[in-house]
């Protein structure tokens, strides 16, 4: 088994009562399995440890900033260990466990590689869940103004006109800057939150998530308009 599975397993051990971990037995050889993902005796794949958070799963430091290349490399390494294709010729239990591992792995990967999902997940993990999907605390009025202006600008573009592509490109530039700024703000706020978290920081993070969500929706609308032009539907 690779180094990745060992180190993540050991982290799992630290999180739990050691007696509980010691009491875990392998479903196949029924020997002690501890927190390992593969039985140290018979190598059989074990059920995923649901106590591991997504950062532990990937052996990444807890924080908003995730180095994309590192995440990708670890993702592929873990897939090589757990993917159902590796277990296609094995028994039913092994096939099922592999599926459970990889389903969770894919979810974790998607969460960590997406800034908004990552921010929401981290907030929840640190005990300050924000309402997702835009409910709960209202976004601040300045955000609504800004987004309304962007939308109006988008609607004002005559998609059939010759200048439409350039106009959309300019709006895209603006929108990309907004998204980038939101991410930078989040990175900054999480550093503060993780070192000395006070209630203010967490609510600022929740607000920034709102910003990111609104800016994304605008980006989607912009892309829909671009696609119409490419597809010749104007």
């Amino acid at each position: 088994m690779g180094a990745v599975s060992r180190s993540q397993s050991e982290k799992g051990v630290e999180n739990l009562d050691s007696a509980v971990v010691a009491g875990r037995s392998c479903w196949s050889c029924r020997g002690p399995v501890g927190g390992f993902a593969f039985c140290p005796t018979c190598q059989a794949i074990q059920p995923p440890d649901l106590n591991l958070d997504y950062f532990q799963l990937f052996d990444l430091p807890v924080g908003f900033t995730v180095i994309a290349e590192r995440l990708e490399i670890l993702y592929q390494k873990l897939q090589k260990l757990f993917h159902p294709d590796r277990y296609a010729a094995r028994g039913a239990t092994e096939r099922r466990l592999s599926l459970e591992h990889v389903t969770r792995l894919n979810r974790a990967y998607q969460t960590l590689r997406d800034p908004l999902l990552r921010s929401e997940y981290l907030l929840g993990m640190l005990g300050h869940p924000s309402s997702s999907g835009g409910q709960g605390e209202p976004p601040d009025p300045s955000l609504l103004m800004e987004v309304m202006e962007q939308r109006e600008a988008l609607e004002a573009v005559d998609l059939a006109s010759r200048g439409a592509v350039d106009q959309l490109a300019s709006l895209r530039g603006q929108a990309e800057r907004c998204l980038q700024q939101d991410e930078e703000t989040l990175a900054h706020l999480f550093v503060r939150g993780l070192s000395a978290g006070d209630a203010v920081v967490w609510s600022q993070i929740a607000q920034t998530n709102h910003h990111l969500r609104y800016h994304r929706r605008f980006m989607e609308a912009l892309e829909a308009a671009e696609e119409k032009i490419f597809a010749g539907e104007v």
Binding site: V13, R30, G34, Q76, D85, A88, A89
Partner: protein, 643 residues
């Protein structure tokens, strides 16, 4: 003792998959499992397998041809012809000869009739069960699944003849852009043909595997990023892949499951009919036009113009010369329409064309010079087409089948994504996305819903697939009702709907009411395709998948499990053998040896009994092993000290 060491010698523990349990015929040790890869194409289908030299190769028919025309002829006497023999009947019996059946897979009549090929087909199409189209022929109704199964059966026979025995399993390829209904229908067809589907694999991904793209050296920091442009007879796919240390990771995919070389032919057909001033061609003329159109298209890939002489019903002959530029002007819009999907796939992968290391051409329609020029311009590079674009998908499928069967060690791994968003209908006939497109599979997502009326005890769940906001513009996959919700005020119930997409890309949806602790659970498979009952009935009718096959599979499963248990016991003895007296060890070994003998035999029940015996005989051993580990933890020693 020696016999046990045979299972696993110390230091080189034998993994269960190395134990031979080859398909169907008893399983003699030391043999590879017989597997094959099948490219079930719109116009041609192929089957490939790994040769003795370890390379994938397409299996030819008796006359040496590898491509089997995807044509099935149902003769008046009830016999069925497949391939070239069926193709020969197409002109005489257009209404009894089914071609391009792939375009009917998982489709409803209404949506087919909106397309040109649906309204112009010589076949009699009508609405069938489960909203799927069926073909009326004499007194029977043929489903596209049954027709596809005939093609698969023919390929199965070919592979079994070549490999010398029953197949353990196959990989069947599908267009990456196939939706759930089309995938389900394809899998049903394989089951109906008596094939065990190891995996449905996306065609572009299979092609990437065949190309061995992972061997390409990283250049100028463009770390193994490739586009696979796959234009077949009836489908178009674009996939963006990242390759790294044997992992083929699909970053995004897109396409059009109703665009391909058949549409190029249709352009020529339309021109010919227009020139002949015939608005309503009879089936015979239509078939003749199609054959001419295909010839024209194929020849125009190498020459500048082609002569056509088309005999018309009145005895006249239509004579025309078609030039390449004429042909290109007809298909120009179709070709450029593939650019939309390519741009979207690049965007979804977060890339630009410049960051790609190369683009690979797959599918016979990429032989058309205009397509090559277009792809080159779109991706700013010279497309790769070293391998035969007709064969590359089947070759990759054979490779993947070999990997899945555990024949040989390898580091190669395919990681794929969902091509289209999956969601549910919510208030106002809007589609709410649960799993967005390009999500890595397998995956699972849950979403909570609630009741909107006081005392509501049932909830309708409508599963849809597609990118549009309105349910009516998405594909409807399944409808079911969750009943037995306890009456509560509106909004109090909590209904958790869970979507599971497996490694084949197939969806299962379940729903459960959770607030009251009363659990209601319904699992559905999409209603397109056939129900399990229907498939079983057809299997019985067809007698192609007898009881024998089923027993062989059960025996196989029992053997795999027994080998695992023997492995586990041997590993436990190696590590913790000191916990047993010599006498106890001997007893365990004796029972293990009995199981090992049962595995060599053919009696599945005996294997089960001996496994239970071994289980019983090692319970105290397991207990002692656990006691020691807990003891160690209590005294503050880390579990790893034992490793």
């Amino acid at each position: 003792m020696e016999l046990l060491l045979d299972i696993a010698e110390p230091g080189q523990s034998r993994k269960p998959h190395e134990v031979d349990l080859s398909g169907g015929d008893g399983g003699l040790p030391g043999k590879r499992r017989r597997v094959a890869g099948i490219d079930l194409g719109t116009t041609f289908s192929l089957v490939a397998a790994i040769t003795l030299e370890g390379r994938p190769a397409c299996i030819p028919d008796a006359t040496g041809r590898v491509a089997l025309p995807s044509v099935v002829h149902y003769a008046v006497d009830g016999s069925v012809l497949v391939g070239f023999a069926a193709q020969e009947q197409a002109l005489q019996h257009p209404q009894r000869t089914v071609s391009s059946v792939k375009r009917l897979m998982g489709r409803g009549l209404a949506e087919l009739m909106r397309t040109e090929e649906g309204s112009q087909t010589p076949l009699q199409l009508r609405d069938g069960e489960g909203g799927m189209v069926e073909i009326a022929l004499d007194a029977r109704a043929l489903s596209p699944v049954e027709v596809s199964a005939e093609i698969l059966k023919s390929l199965k026979r070919r592979a079994e003849d070549a490999l010398g025995g029953a197949l353990y399993g196959v990989v069947v390829t599908v267009p990456a852009y196939f939706d759930d209904a089309q995938r389900q229908a394809t899998k049903d067809a394989a089951r109906l043909a008596g094939l065990e589907v190891l995996r449905l694999v996306n065609e572009p991904t299979a092609a990437a595997l065949a190309y061995g793209l992972d061997a390409f050296q990283e250049s100028e920091g463009r770390q193994g990023l490739f586009a696979i442009y796959d234009l077949g007879g009836g489908t178009f796919d674009i996939s963006i892949l990242r390759l790294n240390e044997g992992v083929f990771q699909v970053l995004s995919t897109g396409g059009n499951s109703r665009l391909g070389g058949d549409d190029f032919d249709q352009c020529v057909v339309s021109y010919l009919l227009q020139e002949a001033a015939i608005a309503q061609p009879d089936p015979h003329l239509l078939q003749l036009c199609r054959q001419e159109a295909r010839r024209v298209k194929e020849q125009l890939s190498s020459v500048e113009w082609v002569d056509v002489r088309l005999p018309l019903p009145g005895g006249e002959v239509l004579h025309r010369t078609i030039s390449r530029s004429q042909f290109e002007s007809w298909i120009g819009d179709l070709v450029s329409s593939t650019g939309v999907a390519c741009r979207r796939a690049l965007k979804d992968a977060g890339l630009t064309a410049a960051s790609l290391q190369g683009v690979v051409l797959v599918g016979g329609s990429t032989r058309v010079p205009l397509v090559r020029r277009f792809v080159g311009q779109l991706f700013h590079c010279q497309p790769l087409c070293d391998l035969d674009p007709d064969q590359v998908v089947a070759l990759g499928a054979a490779h993947q089948a070999d990997l899945l069967a555990g024949n040989g060690e390898t580091e190669l791994l395919l990681l794929d994504v969902t091509p289209l968003s999956l969601g549910l209908e919510t208030m106002g006939e809007l589609a709410e996305k649960i799993i967005p497109r390009n999500t890595p599979i397998p995956t699972a997502r849950a979403q909570d819903f609630t009741t909107f009326k006081d005392g509501q005890t049932a909830m309708a769940i409508h599963v849809v697939q597609g990118e549009r906001e309105l349910v009516s513009q998405c594909r409807s996959l399944a409808r079911f009702e969750l009943r037995g919700i306890p009456p509560m005020v509106a909004g109090a119930a909590r209904i958790r709907v869970t979507f599971h997409v497996d490694a084949d890309g197939l969806l299962t949806v379940s729903a459960r009411e959770e607030t009251t602790g009363v659990e209601q659970s319904v699992a559905v498979k999409p209603s397109y395709g056939l129900s399990d009952g229907q498939v079983e009935q057809m299997l019985r009718d067809a007698l192609s998948y007898g009881e024998l096959d089923l027993r062989a599979r059960q025996l196989h499963e029992a053997r795999v499990d027994a080998e695992r248990v023997l492995n586990a016991v041997e590993a436990a003895l190696r590590r913790d053998g000191d916990l047993l007296t010599e006498q106890e060890t001997q007893r365990v070994r004796t029972v293990a040896e009995q199981l090992r003998q049962a595995v060599q035999g053919e009696d599945e029940t005996l294997i089960g009994q001996r496994m239970a015996q071994l289980d019983q005989q090692t319970t105290f051993f397991a207990q002692r092993r656990m006691d020691r580990s807990v003891q160690a933890a209590m005294t503050g020693r880390h579990i790893a000290d034992f490793s």
